[in-house]
């Protein structure tokens, strides 16, 4: 197990190293100079040169890459070109919106998926199952930004139950914060919940075909009792994997939803930074998201291997 973990860890580090080179190269190739963006059309050449020097843009690309990676290793993400504040601080601030949003969406999606999946599995082939499966098909097919537009139209404009967007900050209280994240979380959760419900159902159905479930039924438990006592726990493993993978997906996927609801999260930060050519912010945000995905995959792999030793020999 330890050897396996070590092997996965090495490949994680290599992945991150390659990712950092790719990200840096792609972003540095992009046309557009942060200094001339900040100073606008009437900037004079000497002014531009002064600003470029101040921003540290006058050193070579290779040196900038080393500075960036070296800084990240000790937790220093550098200083934003436009905001002039530490990038780590900016990212931390935005994470306080994006992370709770992703978590909230994950909880909502699980709350939708579990009962729906259980219900459908228990009524396999009957109208209830068909209805749930039809609904999840629809849920998967709906683009989340379009669903978000419809939610705003109905629950913020026609019915004034929610704010159309914005985030007042957690200082205003937990309830206020959650309230302003509800519509965005719902928009994010619907397609994920639909996928999760299908996974839940099919994994329950697989379990029901297993011997120990037949034994349970033979012992006189009803189909529903057997499902509850033995099925759910065993069906959870694939479901938890999907949840793990969905979390990093939700974190990255909130980028468009944050635009729709003008939430000051990581996605908004990235769009702003791209248009201002605040390269160091873009690089760091993307790197952070890659890191999140890679480490979640790593943890999922480890968890799998812990549950099922046979997997350790694969790769």
């Amino acid at each position: 197990m330890l050897r396996y973990a070590l092997k996965r860890l090495i490949s994680l580090v290599i992945s991150l190293a390659v990712a950092s080179v790719v990200i840096f190269t792609v972003i540095e190739v992009a046309p557009g100079d942060p200094a001339s963006f900040m100073l606008g059309v009437n900037a004079q050449p000497d002014t531009l040169a002064a600003l470029r020097a101040e921003l540290g843009l006058d050193v070579s690309r290779g040196q900038r890459y080393l500075n960036w990676v070296g800084g990240m290793l000790v937790g220093d993400f550098g200083t934003s070109y436009t905001y002039r504040t530490p990038v780590s601080q900016m990212i931390a601030d935005r994470l306080w919106v994006s992370l709770p949003l992703a978590l909230y969406a994950l909880i909502l999606s699980t709350l939708i998926a579990f009962p729906a999946g259980l219900y459908a599995a228990a009524r396999r082939g009957r109208p209830g199952d068909l209805a749930v499966m039809g609904a999840t098909q629809l849920g998967i097919a709906v683009p989340n930004f379009w669903f978000a537009m419809m939610l705003v139209l109905i629950f913020a404009i026609d019915l004034p139950w929610f704010n159309a967007g914005g985030f007042a900050g957690w200082d205003e209280g937990l309830w206020t914060g959650l309230h302003s994240l509800t519509l965005p979380a719902l928009a994010l959760a619907l397609p994920q919940g639909a996928i999760l419900a299908r996974v839940m159902r099919s994994s329950l159905l697989d379990i029901m075909g297993e011997d120990f479930m037949r034994t349970a039924r033979a012992k006189g438990l009803s189909r529903r009792q057997a499902l509850w006592r033995h099925g759910v726990r065993n069906a959870l493993i694939p479901v938890l994997t999907i949840i793990g993978l969905q979390f990093s997906f939700l974190l990255a996927g909130s980028i468009i939803i944050e635009q729709v609801f003008y939430l000051p999260g990581l996605g908004r930060l990235m769009f702003q930074a791209i248009s201002a050519r605040d390269l160091i912010v873009v690089e760091s945000v993307v790197m952070l998201l890659v890191f999140a995905v890679v480490s979640v995959n790593f943890l999922v792999d480890l968890a799998y291997a812990a549950v099922d030793p046979r997997l350790r020999n694969r790769i």
């Binding site: 992009a30 629809l138 097919a141 419809m150 990255a252 890659v290 995905v293 995959n297």
Partner: protein
């Protein structure tokens, strides 16, 4: 044949038909502006109404289907053409440095948040249909590589492959002659799923302005254009949204139906 297969086939064909017919006929010239007639509700003249430039929405939806299908189809093509051989090679040389390299490369691509990378790609090389195809296509490669490798690995253990080996056939030839035909069903099913995901991805990219550029209509951009007008012209947002839903729903049902029909045992990864 299941109900979902039939329903999925009908919906998919409907969209495909609209896209094909748009090459020869649309009720109105799709790019023609007619500003005095802007923002009309659906009527006998304009079946789906007109947009903010007075263009006929029905015609734009038809041509938009073309855009969506073209982008998603080519992106799936890229994924298959590059991913399937990689997967076959990885399975053929299981455990070798080649296998290791391909699988690590897969993990690396999977580790990138696809939407964000697509945004970066289009920011660097410019927004447009071609770059959208590339951005979506890149992320299809590891999907096909992984699923091909997985299916091929189990085939390599089977007797008929052993027989072929004994008769002196090389790994490449076995992969092409014996493995590939046996994973084809799986690839068709996965291809349908990736196709529907591609439609959604194209819609998302063009919604943030990074897909096909005007005057080429695209559903995602129609939604983006409609966003400020939903409160007084909801049909602008409803119709393109429903077009996406119908297409994706149709393809998903088709994929599920095909899977059950072709081989009830195979499992398809849905990322």
């Amino acid at each position: 044949m299941s109900r979902s297969l039939i329903l999925g086939a009908v919906l998919s064909c409907l969209v495909l038909l609209a896209a094909l017919v748009s090459f020869v006929w649309t009720p109105h010239e799709y790019a023609a502006l007619n500003i005095p007639d802007k923002l009309q509700s659906p009527s006998a003249q304009h079946w789906f109404g007109t947009d903010h430039f007075g263009r006929d929405i029905f015609s734009m939806i038809m041509v938009g289907a073309r855009t969506s299908i073209a982008v998603a189809l080519v992106a799936v093509g890229i994924g298959m053409i590059l991913g399937v051989p990689l997967g076959l090679a990885a399975a053929a040389y299981k455990g070798s440095w080649l296998d290791e390299g391909i699988m690590r490369g897969n993990d690396l691509v999977f580790a990138f948040p696809s939407l964000i990378i697509a945004i970066l790609i289009t920011a660097v090389f410019g927004a447009g249909a071609i770059n959208a195809i590339i951005a979506i296509g890149i992320f299809n490669i590891p999907v096909f590589a992984r699923i091909t490798r997985g299916a091929a690995l189990s085939l390599w253990e089977r007797e008929f492959i052993l027989a072929a080996r004994v008769s002196g056939k090389g790994a490449a030839r076995i992969s092409a002659e014996h493995i590939l035909p046996n994973v084809a069903n799986l690839l068709i099913v996965q291809g349908t799923i990736q196709f529907s995901l591609g439609i959604l991805a194209e819609a998302g990219l063009s919604y943030v302005g990074l897909g096909a550029q005007p005057p080429t209509p695209s559903w995602g951009r129609m939604l983006a254009d409609a966003q400020t007008m939903v409160s007084f012209a909801p049909h602008l947002a409803l119709i393109p949204g429903l077009a996406i839903v119908v297409t994706v729903l149709g393809l998903n049902l088709l994929g599920d139906g095909l899977r059950d029909w072709l081989d009830p045992r195979i499992r398809v990864a849905r990322t």
